[in-house]
Symmetry: none
Subunit: 217 residues, 2 copies
């Protein structure tokens, strides 16, 4: 399946204020209590002040946000997490399709991205608190994985056909495979090494199975 580059949604007026509300709530404060504790006027964060008389949106200054963070002993990262509309979280980096990358004007002389046309993609493992990593030893999984590579596994992520997976058999064997087919009764597993044969496992033989989401190089 083709991964969809996540469209970057702009930071909205409502999100900023919602984050301030949540920041206050998390500290057991009302919006006015938070403003007071931050050394600001208690009405600064009033809901009635978020839209001006003529219907224009009023945004807080970064200074006010900074003071609110300091007052609740929270970091800017926390603030961003509180913006959380579900779609966000995690560091994002500029991304572009490989074919497009060949066109001129997308990189500067040093190979850093520049210019227009870049999308963004979130590095996804950030929100998976159960993620863990395995270090590859030996060359059985070449050329996909080489000795010293680190594979990041996300045991909570759903698995689809075509995903690369780590699984443990009932007998305690650890396998790294590509999931070719999955039925109610069996799993068909392709080898990463093209010289090795595929393998079919009974579903009952599988203790657990988890998806590989990232690989270091």
């Amino acid at each position: 399946m083709v991964k969809q580059p996540k469209a970057v949604r702009p930071l909205t007026h409502g999100q900023v204020w919602a984050a301030l509300d949540r920041l206050a709530e998390r500290a057991g404060l009302s919006p006015s209590g938070l403003a007071k504790r931050a050394g600001l006027d208690p009405t600064t964060f009033n809901k009635s002040k978020r839209i001006t008389g003529d219907g224009r949106e009023r945004w807080p200054s970064t200074e006010s946000v900074s003071k609110a963070l300091a007052a609740t002993n929270a970091s800017i990262e926390t603030f961003v997490a509180l913006i959380g509309d579900g779609g966000r979280t995690g560091q994002a980096v500029p991304m572009i399709g490989f074919e497009q990358a060949g066109t001129a004007g997308l990189f500067d002389d040093s190979g850093f991205p520049s210019g227009k046309g870049w999308d963004e993609v979130a590095l996804p493992t950030i929100h998976d608190e159960h993620a863990y990593a395995l270090e590859i030893e030996g060359d059985q999984m070449k050329p996909a994985y080489r000795e010293g590579d680190i594979i990041v596994i996300s045991p909570g992520t759903p698995i689809r056909r075509g995903d690369r997976v780590v699984l443990r058999t009932a007998g305690g064997e650890m396998l790294v495979k590509e999931l070719k087919r999955r039925s109610a009764r069996t799993l068909e597993l392709g080898s990463l090494n093209p010289e090795l044969a595929d393998r079919i496992l009974d579903a009952e033989e599988v203790a657990w199975i988890a998806r590989i989401v990232w690989v270091s190089q």
Copy 2:
């Protein structure tokens, strides 16, 4: 291990402006160019406007920040990453060698890590603000990279033999290769697809070369 409560350093005036500067730089813009593109007055982000005549710090409004982010197609997470003062660390996950992973007692019944013996490894590129991503299109790089995979490139990272790299030739061609040998005059590049031949490039033909650090699956 008991988690230490992280000492929260407040968000500073300098960090906010530094992040805006880096945001502009990443988009190949000057501070005034960024302001202009954001629909603001070009002098809004002038260094001369960051401190008022009487020495007081001037902070931008969240609205201006939001507009700057929209203008560069960046998310608030990116902005926070650009604040990066080095002290902020990325998420770390438990790691263990693949061979050891087969031994008993390291996973619970659901496949989550448990027990002792786990190391820690930091997740992708949190520290590299220049990192970017390319989405793989087509199957020329199978089996290492498949259509839809996202490769994360770190142009600042030093390159060693055996690393997988992205490079651009003087002619504008983009290549994904494995660096086999590098001398003062030439680069010997192995193909990721074993059916394709290696390639030797003159050092002068290479516009830039950057290391691939992570791959999504």
